[in-house]
Protein backbone atom coordinates (compact mmCIF):
# COMPACT_ATOMS: atom_id res chain seq x y z
CA UNK A 1 0.00 0.00 0.00
CA UNK A 2 2.70 2.42 1.04
CA UNK A 3 4.60 1.72 -2.16
CA UNK A 4 1.55 2.59 -4.22
CA UNK A 5 1.07 5.93 -2.44
CA UNK A 6 4.75 6.78 -2.85
CA UNK A 7 4.68 6.01 -6.56
CA UNK A 8 1.42 7.59 -7.65
CA UNK A 9 3.18 9.87 -10.13
CA UNK A 10 4.98 6.98 -11.70
CA UNK A 11 1.79 4.93 -11.92
CA UNK A 12 -0.01 7.84 -13.60
CA UNK A 13 2.78 8.17 -16.16
CA UNK A 14 2.63 4.44 -16.93
CA UNK A 15 -1.16 4.64 -17.26
CA UNK A 16 -0.79 7.35 -19.90
CA UNK A 17 1.81 5.24 -21.73
CA UNK A 18 -0.54 2.27 -21.51
CA UNK A 19 -3.39 4.25 -23.08
CA UNK A 20 -1.10 5.61 -25.77
CA UNK A 21 -0.39 2.02 -26.83
CA UNK A 22 -3.87 0.54 -26.57
CA UNK A 23 -6.27 3.26 -27.73
CA UNK A 24 -4.71 3.87 -31.17
CA UNK A 25 -4.87 0.13 -31.75
CA UNK A 26 -8.60 0.05 -30.95
CA UNK A 27 -9.27 3.00 -33.27
CA UNK A 28 -7.21 1.47 -36.10
CA UNK A 29 -8.93 -1.89 -35.73
CA UNK A 30 -12.35 -0.24 -35.84
CA UNK A 31 -11.65 2.06 -38.79
CA UNK A 32 -9.99 -0.65 -40.89
CA UNK A 33 -12.55 -3.33 -40.11
CA UNK A 34 -15.55 -1.41 -41.50
CA UNK A 35 -14.45 -1.20 -45.15
CA UNK A 36 -13.07 -4.75 -44.96
CA UNK A 37 -16.38 -6.02 -43.62
CA UNK A 38 -18.31 -4.01 -46.20
CA UNK A 39 -16.30 -5.48 -49.06
CA UNK A 40 -16.59 -8.98 -47.59
CA UNK A 41 -20.38 -8.59 -47.40
CA UNK A 42 -20.60 -7.15 -50.90
CA UNK A 43 -18.62 -9.89 -52.61
CA UNK A 44 -20.16 -13.03 -51.18
CA UNK A 45 -17.52 -15.37 -52.59
CA UNK A 46 -14.74 -13.82 -50.50
CA UNK A 47 -16.81 -13.36 -47.32
CA UNK A 48 -15.96 -16.62 -45.57
CA UNK A 49 -12.27 -16.65 -46.66
CA UNK A 50 -11.79 -13.08 -45.39
CA UNK A 51 -13.56 -13.76 -42.08
CA UNK A 52 -11.76 -17.05 -41.52
CA UNK A 53 -8.31 -15.71 -42.32
CA UNK A 54 -8.68 -12.64 -40.11
CA UNK A 55 -10.04 -14.90 -37.37
CA UNK A 56 -7.01 -17.12 -37.73
CA UNK A 57 -4.79 -14.13 -36.89
CA UNK A 58 -6.30 -14.26 -33.45
CA UNK A 59 -4.77 -17.70 -32.94
CA UNK A 60 -1.31 -16.13 -33.11
CA UNK A 61 0.01 -15.72 -29.55
CA UNK A 62 0.74 -12.11 -28.60
CA UNK A 63 4.33 -12.28 -27.38
CA UNK A 64 5.61 -14.19 -30.44
CA UNK A 65 3.78 -11.73 -32.67
CA UNK A 66 5.49 -8.80 -30.95
CA UNK A 67 8.76 -10.49 -31.85
CA UNK A 68 7.82 -11.62 -35.35
CA UNK A 69 6.51 -8.24 -36.56
CA UNK A 70 9.84 -6.38 -36.56
CA UNK A 71 11.24 -8.98 -38.96
CA UNK A 72 8.32 -8.39 -41.32
CA UNK A 73 7.83 -4.63 -41.20
CA UNK A 74 11.23 -3.40 -40.05
CA UNK A 75 10.29 -1.91 -36.67
CA UNK A 76 12.34 -2.66 -33.58
CA UNK A 77 11.17 -5.05 -30.85
CA UNK A 78 11.18 -2.26 -28.24
CA UNK A 79 9.45 0.24 -30.52
CA UNK A 80 5.99 1.31 -29.22
CA UNK A 81 4.82 1.45 -32.84
CA UNK A 82 5.52 -2.28 -33.08
CA UNK A 83 3.17 -2.93 -30.14
CA UNK A 84 0.46 -0.69 -31.58
CA UNK A 85 0.57 -2.53 -34.91
CA UNK A 86 0.48 -5.96 -33.26
CA UNK A 87 -2.49 -4.91 -31.11
CA UNK A 88 -4.27 -3.50 -34.16
CA UNK A 89 -3.89 -6.89 -35.82
CA UNK A 90 -5.47 -8.62 -32.83
CA UNK A 91 -8.24 -6.04 -32.74
CA UNK A 92 -8.84 -6.51 -36.43
CA UNK A 93 -9.01 -10.27 -35.97
CA UNK A 94 -11.94 -9.80 -33.59
CA UNK A 95 -13.53 -6.78 -35.22
CA UNK A 96 -13.80 -7.81 -38.87
CA UNK A 97 -16.17 -10.65 -38.14
CA UNK A 98 -18.40 -8.69 -35.78
CA UNK A 99 -18.49 -5.75 -38.21
CA UNK A 100 -19.39 -8.05 -41.09
CA UNK A 101 -22.17 -9.62 -39.07
CA UNK A 102 -23.38 -6.26 -37.79
CA UNK A 103 -23.65 -4.80 -41.30
CA UNK A 104 -25.13 -8.01 -42.62
CA UNK A 105 -27.91 -7.89 -40.02
CA UNK A 106 -29.44 -4.80 -41.66
CA UNK A 107 -32.39 -6.29 -43.52
CA UNK A 108 -32.88 -6.03 -47.26
CA UNK A 109 -36.27 -4.42 -46.70
CA UNK A 110 -34.64 -1.49 -44.95
CA UNK A 111 -32.04 -1.21 -47.67
CA UNK A 112 -34.63 -1.28 -50.43
CA UNK A 113 -36.82 1.26 -48.63
CA UNK A 114 -33.85 3.59 -48.21
CA UNK A 115 -33.10 3.31 -51.90
CA UNK A 116 -36.77 3.90 -52.71
CA UNK A 117 -36.88 7.20 -50.83
CA UNK A 118 -33.83 8.37 -52.70
CA UNK A 119 -30.67 7.38 -50.84
CA UNK A 120 -27.64 6.79 -53.03
CA UNK A 121 -25.14 3.97 -52.35
CA UNK A 122 -22.67 5.82 -50.15
CA UNK A 123 -25.27 8.05 -48.53
CA UNK A 124 -27.32 4.98 -47.72
CA UNK A 125 -24.34 3.29 -46.13
CA UNK A 126 -23.45 6.18 -43.83
CA UNK A 127 -26.94 7.38 -42.93
CA UNK A 128 -28.90 4.13 -42.88
CA UNK A 129 -26.80 0.97 -42.68
CA UNK A 130 -24.03 2.19 -40.38
CA UNK A 131 -26.36 3.66 -37.71
CA UNK A 132 -28.53 0.55 -37.78
CA UNK A 133 -25.48 -1.67 -37.37
CA UNK A 134 -24.25 0.66 -34.60
CA UNK A 135 -25.27 -1.32 -31.51
CA UNK A 136 -23.68 -4.54 -32.80
CA UNK A 137 -20.56 -2.63 -33.85
CA UNK A 138 -20.36 -1.12 -30.38
CA UNK A 139 -20.48 -4.57 -28.82
CA UNK A 140 -17.53 -5.59 -30.99
CA UNK A 141 -15.51 -2.49 -30.14
CA UNK A 142 -16.08 -3.06 -26.42
CA UNK A 143 -14.56 -6.54 -26.65
CA UNK A 144 -11.61 -5.23 -28.65
CA UNK A 145 -11.07 -2.36 -26.21
CA UNK A 146 -11.02 -4.48 -23.06
CA UNK A 147 -8.81 -7.18 -24.53
CA UNK A 148 -6.36 -4.64 -26.00
CA UNK A 149 -5.94 -2.92 -22.66
CA UNK A 150 -5.17 -6.19 -20.91
CA UNK A 151 -2.92 -7.41 -23.75
CA UNK A 152 -0.61 -4.39 -23.77
CA UNK A 153 1.03 -5.43 -20.51
CA UNK A 154 2.70 -8.44 -22.12
CA UNK A 155 4.95 -6.12 -24.13
CA UNK A 156 6.63 -5.07 -20.87
CA UNK A 157 8.76 -8.24 -20.88
CA UNK A 158 10.31 -6.91 -24.09
CA UNK A 159 11.06 -3.56 -22.44
CA UNK A 160 8.18 -1.49 -23.82
CA UNK A 161 6.86 0.90 -21.14
CA UNK A 162 3.26 0.42 -20.02
CA UNK A 163 1.40 -0.58 -16.86
CA UNK A 164 2.99 -3.96 -17.54
CA UNK A 165 6.29 -2.46 -16.41
CA UNK A 166 4.82 -2.53 -12.90
CA UNK A 167 4.71 -6.33 -13.20
CA UNK A 168 8.24 -6.78 -14.51
CA UNK A 169 9.71 -4.29 -11.99
CA UNK A 170 7.62 -5.64 -9.15
CA UNK A 171 8.69 -9.19 -9.91
CA UNK A 172 12.37 -8.34 -10.37
CA UNK A 173 12.54 -6.24 -7.20
CA UNK A 174 10.07 -8.26 -5.14
CA UNK A 175 7.54 -5.44 -4.61
CA UNK A 176 4.04 -6.80 -4.10
CA UNK A 177 2.48 -3.31 -4.19
CA UNK A 178 3.81 -2.68 -7.67
CA UNK A 179 2.19 -5.80 -9.10
CA UNK A 180 -1.11 -5.19 -7.32
CA UNK A 181 -1.15 -1.57 -8.48
CA UNK A 182 -0.56 -2.77 -12.04
CA UNK A 183 -3.40 -5.29 -11.96
CA UNK A 184 -5.82 -2.83 -10.35
CA UNK A 185 -4.98 -0.02 -12.75
CA UNK A 186 -5.32 -2.29 -15.79
CA UNK A 187 -8.74 -3.51 -14.69
CA UNK A 188 -9.90 0.00 -13.72
CA UNK A 189 -8.67 1.37 -17.03
CA UNK A 190 -10.51 -1.35 -18.94
CA UNK A 191 -13.70 -0.66 -16.98
CA UNK A 192 -13.50 3.11 -17.49
CA UNK A 193 -12.90 2.76 -21.23
CA UNK A 194 -15.75 0.26 -21.47
CA UNK A 195 -18.04 2.64 -19.62
CA UNK A 196 -17.04 5.54 -21.88
CA UNK A 197 -17.83 3.42 -24.91
CA UNK A 198 -21.26 2.58 -23.51
CA UNK A 199 -21.91 6.28 -22.79
CA UNK A 200 -20.72 7.24 -26.27
CA UNK A 201 -23.09 4.62 -27.64
CA UNK A 202 -26.00 6.18 -25.71
CA UNK A 203 -25.16 9.64 -26.99
CA UNK A 204 -24.70 8.57 -30.60
CA UNK A 205 -27.56 6.09 -30.66
CA UNK A 206 -30.25 7.44 -28.31
CA UNK A 207 -32.89 5.32 -30.03
CA UNK A 208 -31.18 2.18 -28.90
CA UNK A 209 -31.32 2.55 -25.10
CA UNK A 210 -34.53 0.65 -24.62
CA UNK A 211 -33.84 -2.26 -26.91
CA UNK A 212 -30.32 -2.74 -25.55
CA UNK A 213 -31.72 -3.16 -22.05
CA UNK A 214 -34.30 -5.72 -23.03
CA UNK A 215 -31.86 -7.71 -25.11
CA UNK A 216 -29.47 -8.19 -22.27
CA UNK A 217 -32.07 -9.76 -20.05
CA UNK A 218 -31.39 -13.50 -19.71
CA UNK A 219 -33.69 -15.86 -21.50
CA UNK A 220 -36.44 -17.17 -19.30
CA UNK A 221 -37.02 -20.85 -19.18
CA UNK A 222 -40.23 -20.81 -17.23
CA UNK A 223 -41.59 -24.06 -18.60
CA UNK A 224 -38.43 -25.97 -17.75
CA UNK A 225 -38.31 -24.59 -14.23
CA UNK A 226 -41.98 -25.31 -13.59
CA UNK A 227 -41.38 -28.94 -14.46
CA UNK A 228 -38.30 -29.30 -12.27
Amino acid sequence: MEWILDNLGNIAELTVAHLALSLPAVVIAFVVSIPLAWVANRIRAIREPVLTSTGLLYAVPSLPLFILLPALIGTSVRDPLNVVIALSIFGLALMVRSAAEALDAVTDDVRTSATAIGFSGIGRFFTVELPLAGPALLAGVRVVCVSSISLVSVSAVLGVTSLGSLFTDGFARDILGSIIAGILMTVVLALICDLLLVLAGRLLMPWNVKSAGSRRRPRLRRSAEANA
Partner: protein, 242 residues
Protein backbone atom coordinates in the same frame (compact mmCIF):
# COMPACT_ATOMS: atom_id res chain seq x y z
CA UNK B 1 14.30 -10.28 -43.90
CA UNK B 2 17.86 -11.31 -43.13
CA UNK B 3 16.81 -12.19 -39.60
CA UNK B 4 13.96 -14.33 -40.88
CA UNK B 5 16.35 -16.32 -43.06
CA UNK B 6 18.73 -16.75 -40.15
CA UNK B 7 15.90 -17.88 -37.86
CA UNK B 8 14.63 -20.33 -40.46
CA UNK B 9 18.13 -21.69 -41.04
CA UNK B 10 18.44 -22.19 -37.29
CA UNK B 11 15.08 -23.98 -37.20
CA UNK B 12 16.26 -26.38 -39.87
CA UNK B 13 19.44 -27.44 -38.07
CA UNK B 14 19.33 -30.63 -36.04
CA UNK B 15 21.12 -28.92 -33.12
CA UNK B 16 18.21 -26.60 -32.50
CA UNK B 17 15.81 -29.47 -31.93
CA UNK B 18 17.81 -32.14 -30.10
CA UNK B 19 19.29 -32.21 -26.61
CA UNK B 20 17.78 -31.49 -23.20
CA UNK B 21 17.18 -27.82 -23.96
CA UNK B 22 16.31 -28.37 -27.61
CA UNK B 23 13.18 -27.09 -29.26
CA UNK B 24 11.60 -30.54 -29.34
CA UNK B 25 11.84 -30.91 -25.55
CA UNK B 26 10.62 -27.31 -25.09
CA UNK B 27 7.68 -27.84 -27.43
CA UNK B 28 6.67 -30.98 -25.55
CA UNK B 29 6.94 -29.09 -22.24
CA UNK B 30 4.81 -26.35 -23.74
CA UNK B 31 2.16 -28.82 -24.85
CA UNK B 32 2.34 -30.57 -21.48
CA UNK B 33 1.69 -27.30 -19.60
CA UNK B 34 -1.17 -26.54 -21.95
CA UNK B 35 -2.83 -29.92 -21.46
CA UNK B 36 -2.39 -29.85 -17.69
CA UNK B 37 -3.77 -26.33 -17.32
CA UNK B 38 -6.64 -27.08 -19.68
CA UNK B 39 -7.36 -30.32 -17.81
CA UNK B 40 -7.45 -28.63 -14.41
CA UNK B 41 -9.63 -25.75 -15.52
CA UNK B 42 -11.96 -28.10 -17.36
CA UNK B 43 -12.27 -30.25 -14.24
CA UNK B 44 -13.35 -27.18 -12.25
CA UNK B 45 -15.18 -24.98 -14.75
CA UNK B 46 -16.93 -27.57 -16.91
CA UNK B 47 -19.19 -29.05 -14.20
CA UNK B 48 -19.88 -25.55 -12.87
CA UNK B 49 -20.78 -24.24 -16.33
CA UNK B 50 -23.01 -27.23 -17.04
CA UNK B 51 -24.78 -26.69 -13.73
CA UNK B 52 -25.33 -22.97 -14.46
CA UNK B 53 -26.62 -23.78 -17.94
CA UNK B 54 -28.90 -26.55 -16.69
CA UNK B 55 -30.46 -24.71 -13.75
CA UNK B 56 -30.22 -21.19 -15.16
CA UNK B 57 -29.07 -20.06 -11.71
CA UNK B 58 -25.98 -17.95 -11.16
CA UNK B 59 -25.89 -16.91 -14.78
CA UNK B 60 -25.58 -13.22 -14.02
CA UNK B 61 -22.64 -13.85 -11.71
CA UNK B 62 -20.97 -16.08 -14.30
CA UNK B 63 -21.33 -13.45 -17.03
CA UNK B 64 -19.85 -10.81 -14.74
CA UNK B 65 -16.98 -13.04 -13.65
CA UNK B 66 -16.03 -14.05 -17.18
CA UNK B 67 -16.21 -10.42 -18.30
CA UNK B 68 -13.99 -9.25 -15.46
CA UNK B 69 -11.52 -12.06 -16.08
CA UNK B 70 -11.08 -10.83 -19.63
CA UNK B 71 -9.71 -7.55 -18.30
CA UNK B 72 -7.18 -9.28 -16.04
CA UNK B 73 -3.65 -8.88 -17.37
CA UNK B 74 -1.94 -12.24 -17.76
CA UNK B 75 1.50 -11.05 -16.84
CA UNK B 76 0.20 -9.40 -13.67
CA UNK B 77 -1.46 -12.58 -12.50
CA UNK B 78 1.64 -14.61 -13.27
CA UNK B 79 4.09 -12.34 -11.44
CA UNK B 80 1.68 -11.92 -8.53
CA UNK B 81 1.50 -15.67 -7.88
CA UNK B 82 5.23 -16.04 -8.55
CA UNK B 83 6.06 -13.59 -5.76
CA UNK B 84 4.45 -16.02 -3.31
CA UNK B 85 5.43 -19.37 -4.79
CA UNK B 86 8.89 -18.47 -6.06
CA UNK B 87 10.17 -19.49 -9.45
CA UNK B 88 9.00 -22.76 -10.95
CA UNK B 89 5.88 -24.21 -12.43
CA UNK B 90 3.34 -23.41 -9.68
CA UNK B 91 2.86 -19.76 -10.57
CA UNK B 92 2.43 -20.20 -14.32
CA UNK B 93 0.13 -23.16 -13.76
CA UNK B 94 -2.08 -21.18 -11.38
CA UNK B 95 -2.19 -18.24 -13.78
CA UNK B 96 -2.92 -20.49 -16.76
CA UNK B 97 -5.77 -22.25 -14.96
CA UNK B 98 -7.32 -18.93 -13.89
CA UNK B 99 -7.05 -17.63 -17.45
CA UNK B 100 -8.52 -20.71 -19.09
CA UNK B 101 -11.42 -21.20 -16.69
CA UNK B 102 -13.70 -18.32 -17.86
CA UNK B 103 -13.67 -19.48 -21.49
CA UNK B 104 -14.43 -23.06 -20.49
CA UNK B 105 -17.19 -21.88 -18.15
CA UNK B 106 -18.78 -19.58 -20.73
CA UNK B 107 -18.64 -22.29 -23.39
CA UNK B 108 -20.30 -24.77 -21.06
CA UNK B 109 -23.26 -22.65 -20.00
CA UNK B 110 -23.72 -21.16 -23.45
CA UNK B 111 -23.68 -24.68 -24.89
CA UNK B 112 -26.44 -25.87 -22.57
CA UNK B 113 -28.46 -22.70 -23.16
CA UNK B 114 -28.18 -23.09 -26.91
CA UNK B 115 -30.28 -26.24 -26.74
CA UNK B 116 -33.80 -25.62 -27.98
CA UNK B 117 -36.10 -25.34 -24.90
CA UNK B 118 -38.76 -27.29 -26.78
CA UNK B 119 -36.32 -30.20 -27.09
CA UNK B 120 -35.64 -30.07 -23.35
CA UNK B 121 -39.37 -29.99 -22.62
CA UNK B 122 -39.89 -32.92 -24.95
CA UNK B 123 -37.21 -34.88 -23.12
CA UNK B 124 -38.94 -34.18 -19.80
CA UNK B 125 -42.27 -35.20 -21.27
CA UNK B 126 -40.68 -38.54 -22.13
CA UNK B 127 -40.11 -39.00 -18.41
CA UNK B 128 -36.41 -38.13 -18.20
CA UNK B 129 -35.18 -36.78 -14.89
CA UNK B 130 -32.86 -33.77 -14.54
CA UNK B 131 -29.69 -35.83 -14.76
CA UNK B 132 -30.87 -37.68 -17.85
CA UNK B 133 -31.91 -34.45 -19.54
CA UNK B 134 -28.47 -33.01 -18.85
CA UNK B 135 -26.37 -35.99 -19.90
CA UNK B 136 -28.49 -37.42 -22.70
CA UNK B 137 -29.93 -34.27 -24.26
CA UNK B 138 -28.31 -31.02 -23.19
CA UNK B 139 -24.64 -32.01 -23.18
CA UNK B 140 -24.68 -33.86 -26.52
CA UNK B 141 -26.61 -31.04 -28.22
CA UNK B 142 -24.54 -28.34 -26.58
CA UNK B 143 -21.26 -30.02 -27.45
CA UNK B 144 -20.30 -27.68 -30.34
CA UNK B 145 -20.31 -24.63 -28.07
CA UNK B 146 -18.75 -26.49 -25.15
CA UNK B 147 -15.92 -27.41 -27.50
CA UNK B 148 -15.62 -23.79 -28.72
CA UNK B 149 -15.03 -22.76 -25.13
CA UNK B 150 -12.29 -25.37 -24.73
CA UNK B 151 -10.76 -24.32 -28.05
CA UNK B 152 -10.55 -20.69 -26.99
CA UNK B 153 -9.12 -21.68 -23.62
CA UNK B 154 -6.48 -23.85 -25.31
CA UNK B 155 -5.42 -20.93 -27.50
CA UNK B 156 -5.16 -18.59 -24.53
CA UNK B 157 -3.13 -21.12 -22.57
CA UNK B 158 -0.70 -21.81 -25.41
CA UNK B 159 -0.12 -18.09 -25.84
CA UNK B 160 0.38 -17.52 -22.15
CA UNK B 161 2.49 -20.62 -21.51
CA UNK B 162 5.23 -18.70 -23.32
CA UNK B 163 5.41 -16.44 -20.27
CA UNK B 164 6.04 -19.41 -17.96
CA UNK B 165 9.74 -19.12 -18.72
CA UNK B 166 9.65 -15.54 -17.43
CA UNK B 167 9.25 -16.92 -13.91
CA UNK B 168 11.73 -19.74 -14.38
CA UNK B 169 9.68 -22.61 -15.80
CA UNK B 170 10.30 -24.30 -19.16
CA UNK B 171 8.38 -24.38 -22.40
CA UNK B 172 9.01 -22.57 -25.64
CA UNK B 173 9.35 -19.28 -23.79
CA UNK B 174 12.75 -20.50 -22.61
CA UNK B 175 14.65 -20.05 -25.91
CA UNK B 176 12.59 -16.91 -26.53
CA UNK B 177 13.67 -15.19 -23.32
CA UNK B 178 17.21 -16.51 -23.69
CA UNK B 179 17.36 -14.84 -27.09
CA UNK B 180 15.93 -11.65 -25.59
CA UNK B 181 18.57 -11.49 -22.88
CA UNK B 182 21.48 -12.20 -25.20
CA UNK B 183 20.22 -9.93 -28.01
CA UNK B 184 20.04 -13.02 -30.20
CA UNK B 185 17.15 -12.01 -32.43
CA UNK B 186 17.18 -15.06 -34.74
CA UNK B 187 16.76 -17.42 -31.75
CA UNK B 188 13.87 -15.32 -30.41
CA UNK B 189 12.31 -15.27 -33.82
CA UNK B 190 12.80 -19.01 -34.35
CA UNK B 191 11.19 -19.84 -31.01
CA UNK B 192 8.33 -17.41 -31.74
CA UNK B 193 7.67 -19.10 -35.06
CA UNK B 194 7.47 -22.49 -33.34
CA UNK B 195 4.97 -21.12 -30.76
CA UNK B 196 2.82 -19.63 -33.51
CA UNK B 197 2.87 -22.89 -35.48
CA UNK B 198 1.99 -24.86 -32.35
CA UNK B 199 -0.95 -22.56 -31.62
CA UNK B 200 -2.26 -22.81 -35.16
CA UNK B 201 -1.81 -26.59 -35.09
CA UNK B 202 -3.78 -27.01 -31.86
CA UNK B 203 -6.47 -24.65 -33.14
CA UNK B 204 -6.70 -26.71 -36.32
CA UNK B 205 -7.06 -29.94 -34.33
CA UNK B 206 -9.96 -28.40 -32.39
CA UNK B 207 -11.44 -27.10 -35.64
CA UNK B 208 -11.30 -30.59 -37.08
CA UNK B 209 -12.95 -32.00 -33.97
CA UNK B 210 -15.77 -29.49 -34.27
CA UNK B 211 -16.19 -30.35 -37.94
CA UNK B 212 -16.51 -34.03 -37.17
CA UNK B 213 -18.99 -33.18 -34.43
CA UNK B 214 -21.14 -31.14 -36.79
CA UNK B 215 -21.54 -34.15 -39.03
CA UNK B 216 -22.88 -36.37 -36.28
CA UNK B 217 -26.52 -37.20 -36.97
CA UNK B 218 -28.04 -35.56 -33.88
CA UNK B 219 -26.12 -32.33 -34.35
CA UNK B 220 -26.63 -31.91 -38.07
CA UNK B 221 -30.38 -32.44 -38.03
CA UNK B 222 -33.07 -29.88 -38.88
CA UNK B 223 -33.98 -29.26 -35.24
CA UNK B 224 -30.82 -27.17 -34.80
CA UNK B 225 -30.98 -23.42 -35.14
CA UNK B 226 -29.75 -22.05 -38.46
CA UNK B 227 -26.00 -21.87 -38.65
CA UNK B 228 -25.64 -18.10 -38.66
CA UNK B 229 -27.85 -17.70 -35.62
CA UNK B 230 -25.98 -20.41 -33.74
CA UNK B 231 -22.68 -18.67 -34.43
CA UNK B 232 -23.97 -15.34 -33.26
CA UNK B 233 -25.14 -16.79 -29.97
CA UNK B 234 -21.81 -18.50 -29.59
CA UNK B 235 -19.85 -15.32 -30.03
CA UNK B 236 -21.95 -13.35 -27.62
CA UNK B 237 -21.58 -15.90 -24.87
CA UNK B 238 -18.09 -17.27 -25.25
CA UNK B 239 -15.77 -14.53 -24.13
CA UNK B 240 -12.65 -13.76 -26.06
CA UNK B 241 -9.25 -12.79 -24.81
CA UNK B 242 -5.65 -13.82 -24.81
Amino acid sequence: MNNVMEALTWLFTADAWTGSGGLWVRAMEHLGYTLLALGISAAVALPLGLLIGHTGRGRGAAVLATGAARALPTLGLLTLVALFTGIGLTAPMAALVILAAPSVLAGAYAGIESVNPATVDAARAQGMNGWQVLTLVEIPLGLPLILSGLRLAALQVIATATLAAYVGAGGLGRPLFLGLQTYDYPTMLGASIVVILLAILVDAVFGLGQRVLRRLPGLAGPQRAPRAERRRTARRAVTTGH
